[in-house]
Symmetry: C2
Subunit: 438 residues, 2 copies
């Protein structure tokens, strides 16, 4: 498209805040700017917000994508100062205060970079090409389809060795994503697969590996919770390999750093993330983990009128001298805080308040009836069924929209009673059916 | 794959019935053969059964695909004589009694062709390439995504004429699919789009055309119901063009047989279906509408041990001298009847009973609170809210699985109260996210 074409947003006398990315941070910021004296433009590559903590349940056929995502237009119906555009931002010109998108360019008075983070392959092209990521609901759906496809293929693979490639799954990364995925795969192996595939010896043949580089899983949590989570996973039959790194993966076999190998075609990569800032920002603004260095007011270093929040932002504060963890809570609190600075201080010419993160704790679930919870103040850790119930309630309340809450809740109840996820469907949007007529 | 490879199904002393296609007919047949003294192999290109009558609600973002499809493996859990294989059957060799699939070949003692029908473009390659079909849940999902994509694009299209191409929709075919789709699009235009796209003049700019070649819509129904349905559609603002045929469509403009044109990029083709028999069957077995000619016992003409049921079968009986309508009821009754002949008569060497279709009536719904119902004996037609409630109840009961019933019901209640489908999501399974990092 001609770069002089302007994105079609009405001119306004209000200052224009453009938010790029409608994840936890960007969405929270837009919501807190509803009816404020700004024109707010929210640009996202999708037309919906994604509830990332439950991606693994989509991948494991426990939830439908639609239950954990929410269309932006519906969220902002009737909000006259909010404009939504579905587009990929290709470039930012900080001098002209302008964004480039395939829909045309878009000027801004204030730019909020809330583009989050993407999977980090640490420069290994082979792993980037051959492993499966899980950083969007589309990728979770792809993962679901490929797991189910491989089980179907295993049925018609008479050779034991060939079958191992199809049924064994390797998860790399012992953070919350890897642990929750491993736990939920192990549940599926135990309760669902033997009924679906009576022709296969699921118990003996299907292995789930979790490869973790450090000596604990759930590194960000308490030692207590880490140990408990490890025990839960091992009870479920997951083969947890600590102090191990994946060296290479040729599409059929994973080689670890100690030279040992695992036969598998399916490697899920959850070993790390890296910031995904916009193109065109000055190089000096980019710091550790490809994140944007920001001050306590979320202003991006070396720029003017550009702010970053959430996973893509790197901010040091006294209590977090090495930056905040890249979790939803930080993004939400930054989005809300920055919106307040704009809404209540910027317009009145008052001094801005610095951001301060309040850690509300962290949790992870490992299969049916098992979870770990850390609460920071007063410091307190607990696990088991109680922690699992807390996990359920917290996540249910965090999901946007009453319809989604009801549907997720019903799915959970149904799956809990039946030990049987019902969404084992390989569905792909398709225009023209494969040729079959004579 | 080497054609000598055998599909991996255990040898058995029982006769093997292979059913190709798990639609209404094939699925019903397999269910009625559970625990019968046959080895039953059900082959389908998908791992799920699709409830076709509600595809249009998936396309209109009212229901999720998962609510109207059901995984075969779950349906047949614990049924030891039923084997499920996900594969495309590429060829049948009636002499060797063998099917070819990408998974290897499969022998049969009895072959049931339940492959249904696909969209009929009447040989027009241009229409086949450029219009959107809706004969599978994947196609319905594709249609949903492309409608929503086009509305998003319309927002950034300043020219009125260019915008018309994006927002106007042409539906070709005045059968149940076309009519239900048009009604539901009109509802969305009325209740949802003005709220989602306040920047566009939905009322004035969005047009829905229904092009029908004959002089009535819902041709298979009573004159009474046809007239009522037409009135309902016109009340909803649908532009119904009777006695019109689409001559050509260049991707931006539809030309009708009277020379008039409609500007639109989106043409939905629901103008007819054609049988989709397997490759390798003798030419003399194929008759009207590319269907397989069968006798009253569903035996395919010119073959042995090959049977056809449902939309792909063409059977004449005294009450239906020109064959049965291609509807779900016929397929279900044929599947059940043929299973009974196999189960209760074939094994005992008894004479088979000829098929006889019992017409239970037909119905169609046209938006909120409006439907038409025809009951054949005693002949009785009614419309309005009562018909709509009957339509809801009948379809709800016909959907497989209690979970699906509950979810469809809740979605309907939710949409009815809110006037607001919540599934306006453009989701595609995707492995690797589009490049965005610098």
């Amino acid at each position: 498209m001609d770069p002089t074409t302007k994105i079609n947003i009405p001119e306004s006398e209000l200052e224009r805040i453009v938010i790029v990315g409608g994840g936890f941070g960007g969405l929270q910021m837009a919501r807190k700017l509803v009816k404020a004296n700004y024109q707010v433009v929210l640009i996202d590559r999708n037309n919906y917000h994604q509830f990332q903590p439950l991606f693994y349940q989509v991948a494991m056929a426990g939830l439908e994508p639609s239950s954990i995502v929410f269309p932006f237009r519906k969220l902002f119906q009737g909000r006259e100062n909010i404009f939504i555009r579905m587009a990929e931002v290709t470039h930012v010109d900080p001098v002209a205060r302008q964004l480039q998108t395939p829909l045309g360019h878009c000027n801004y008075d204030h730019l909020i970079v809330a583009t989050g983070a993407d999977t980090n392959y640490y420069g290994n092209e082979e792993l980037a090409r051959r492993t499966l990521p899980m950083k969007s609901v589309s990728e979770a759906l792809y993962l679901r389809n490929s797991i189910l496809d491989d089980y179907e293929d295993a049925l018609t693979t008479p050779s034991y060795d060939d079958r191992q490639e199809l049924v064994d799954i390797v998860i790399v990364g012992g953070g919350a994503t890897g642990v929750e995925l491993a736990g939920s795969l192990a549940e599926m192996k135990k309760h669902v697969l033997p009924k679906d595939y009576p022709e296969l010896d699921v118990e003996a043949e299907f292995d789930i590996y979790l490869v973790q580089s450090g000596d604990v899983i759930l590194k960000g949590m308490s030692a207590n919770s880490s140990a408990k989570a490890l025990k839960y996973l091992e009870d479920l039959g997951v083969k947890v390999l600590l102090n191990s790194r994946v060296e290479s993966f040729d599409g059929k076999q994973v080689t670890l750093d100690d030279g040992s190998t695992i036969v598998s075609q399916k490697v899920i990569w959850a070993a790390g993330i890296r910031g995904e800032p916009l193109k065109g920002l000055p190089p000096e603004s980019i710091t550790y983990g490809n994140r944007l260095a920001v001050d306590r007011f979320n202003r991006v270093k070396g720029t003017e009128n550009i702010y970053a929040i959430g996973d893509v932002a790197y901010m040091e504060e006294p209590a977090f001298p090495k930056g905040h963890p890249q979790v939803a809570q930080v993004a939400i609190q930054m989005g809300e805080h920055l919106a307040r600075n704009f809404r209540y201080r910027h317009l009145r010419g008052e001094e801005w308040e610095p951001f301060h993160y309040r850690d509300k704790g962290s949790m992870a679930t490992i299969g049916r009836g098992r979870a770990v919870v850390d609460i920071p103040k007063p410091e307190f850790h607990f696990g088991g069924v109680m922690a699992w119930l807390v996990w359920l309630v917290v996540h249910l309340f965090a999901i946007l929209g009453s319809r989604n809450k009801v549907f997720v809740f019903l799915n959970w109840v149904y799956n809990y009673i039946n030990y049987n996820q019902s969404l084992r469907l390989i569905i792909r949007p398709r225009k023209v059916p494969a040729e079959r007529t004579p």
